[in-house]
């Protein structure tokens, strides 16, 4: 449903000790939005994604997923989630794809993909397997379903990880530099899968250094610098005349993307 706000982040803050990494980030993702998050190393992109599904506990601010706010308690020791069950539920609605794939090494690819639906969502096994096989076919590794992660190339592992996240039927997909750990010749196969997802209308938040993806696939680009949103907008504007000086300098390092 276009027009529905899938993810809303209000004034998100995060400190590690005295080091303030996120200094108040706000962002909304409507249904079908594909938002590329760009920024230099250390600007807080990963921390931002990890705060959204509470792999890091935000120090302040609000996160809303599909209209529900993640309830936080503010005690003396800082802030913490009010309800473990709600955190688990929210995480099951957010698909996360990691830079390092993070597949479960002791399970086959098929087992990796059915694990969440079967044991977290408690769906019937036959249904889980049917959905998983469909997803594996979609990301192009149906023939690898009985292989273990160690038997796959990086690109195949990342596509399996995307299938694992999709199997949860997430409201929003979060990608943290999904192609940064891949050999250059394997980047394309993962980006193609992500592009297909975007075209199907999946709501996506993608931390990436792939300027061509940011420019050609996403409908919004957010540039983070030192824990704040330096600038954001449509790719045409961001990569065109409307770019902030800092963003212009940042993309200068990547050459001119097409």
């Amino acid at each position: 449903m276009p027009g529905v706000t899938r993810l809303s982040v209000r004034n998100l803050r995060k400190s590690f000790g005295t080091h303030e990494v996120l200094k108040g980030i706000s962002m909304d993702a409507q249904d079908g939005d594909v938002i590329s998050v760009l920024g230099a190393s250390g600007s807080g992109k990963s921390t931002f994604l990890r705060c959204i599904n509470l792999l890091e506990t935000p120090s302040g601010g609000e996160v809303w997923v599909d209209g529900k706010q993640i309830r936080m308690l503010n005690g003396r020791g800082g802030s913490r989630p009010a309800s473990r069950a709600q955190v688990d539920h929210i995480r099951s609605e957010l698909g996360m794809v990691f830079q390092g794939f993070n597949l479960w090494s002791h399970m086959t690819i098929l087992q990796n993909v059915i694990e969440g639906p079967l044991h977290v969502l408690k769906r019937p096994k036959a249904e889980c397997i049917a959905v998983a096989e469909e997803l594996l076919a979609k990301v192009g590794i149906a023939d690898k379903r009985h292989a273990y992660p160690a038997h796959l190339s990086g690109g195949q592992q990342q596509r399996a990880a995307i299938a694992r996240a999709l199997a949860m039927k997430p409201k929003v997909m979060l990608f943290d530099e999904p192609t940064s750990a891949l050999d250059p010749e394997l980047v394309g196969e993962v980006l193609r899968v992500m592009r297909a997802l975007a075209e199907e209308g999946m709501t996506m938040l993608v931390v990436t250094h792939e300027m061509s993806f940011a420019r050609n696939v996403s409908n919004r680009v957010v540039f983070m610098r030192d824990g704040i949103v330096d600038s954001s907008g449509a790719p045409e504007d961001m990569f065109g005349a409307g770019a902030s000086p800092a963003f212009r300098q940042f993309i200068g390092h990547f050459g001119n993307p097409q």
Binding site: M96, W104, T108, H119, V120, Y148
Partner: protein
């Protein structure tokens, strides 16, 4: 070689194998369950609980098993609460004392082995599990325990073999397992070498079987570390 004597000795000793196996399997089972609890306390993050687990592990790994067994066997009756409790008819059985002390001791070692396994679970795989909404017992059961157990298996095999040999100590608290029966035979025949060689052979055979079983288990749990064979389905 006196084959007649050797074979009659063998027959007598083999009759004691069931007792050895009972000592072994009960202490591995009870010790394993206890070890799970101690491991849980040890990694709980609560300083009091993990302190208790550390103390437990130190005491049972740091003192001789034989002394622990004597303390259980001769010591429990000193406590009125135990002596007059409904458990006493049960606890004064030598085999119960032997199983109890073997289990308490192996639990200390096994808890450390399990903890090592847990430490070897990649944080990234735990994070991936959290990101699909797993936490608490589900996370332990589905992700942490299976990976940790695989890492712990080689060390755990060693512990199990050591336990098989430790059952011999039960002879000193009057349990008639293989070693105890061997000593009785020696006191009757004075043929130390032959009798002990037969006993050693029995332990070797038992441990050979156990090690084969453990290797098989390890092999079947490590498919993910072997080359992919498309024909072989899970």
């Amino acid at each position: 070689m006196d084959f007649a004597f050797l074979s009659s000795t063998m027959v007598t000793l083999i009759r004691a194998v069931p007792t050895t196996l009972v000592l072994f399997s009960l202490s591995i089972l009870c010790g394993g369950i206890l070890a799970l609890g101690i491991t849980a306390l040890r990694v709980s993050g609560n300083p009091v609980l993990s302190g208790f687990a550390k103390a437990y592990i130190f005491v049972f790994r740091g003192s001789p098993l034989l002394i622990q067994m004597f303390l259980v066997f001769y010591g429990l009756g000193q406590f009125g609460v135990i002596r007059y409790s409904f458990l006493w008819p049960f606890l004064r059985e030598p085999i119960v004392c032997a199983v109890l002390s073997l289990a308490l001791c192996t639990a200390g070692y096994t808890a450390e082995i399990f903890r090592g396994g847990i430490r070897a679970v990649p944080a990234k795989e735990i994070e991936a599990a959290r990101s699909v909404g797993m936490s608490g017992f589900l996370l332990v059961r589905r992700i942490i325990a299976p990976i940790a157990f695989r890492h712990a298996l080689p060390a755990y095999s060693t512990e199990i073999v050591l336990m098989m040999k430790s059952t011999a100590l039960a002879s000193l608290v009057t349990v008639w397992e293989v070693t105890g029966v061997a000593q009785r035979l020696i006191s009757q025949t004075y043929r130390t070498m032959e009798v002990f060689l037969c006993a050693a052979l029995i332990y070797l055979v038992l441990n050979f079987i156990i090690l084969q079983a453990m290797n098989l288990l390890e092999y079947s749990l490590s498919r993910h570390r072997r080359p992919f064979a498309p024909g072989l389905r899970a």
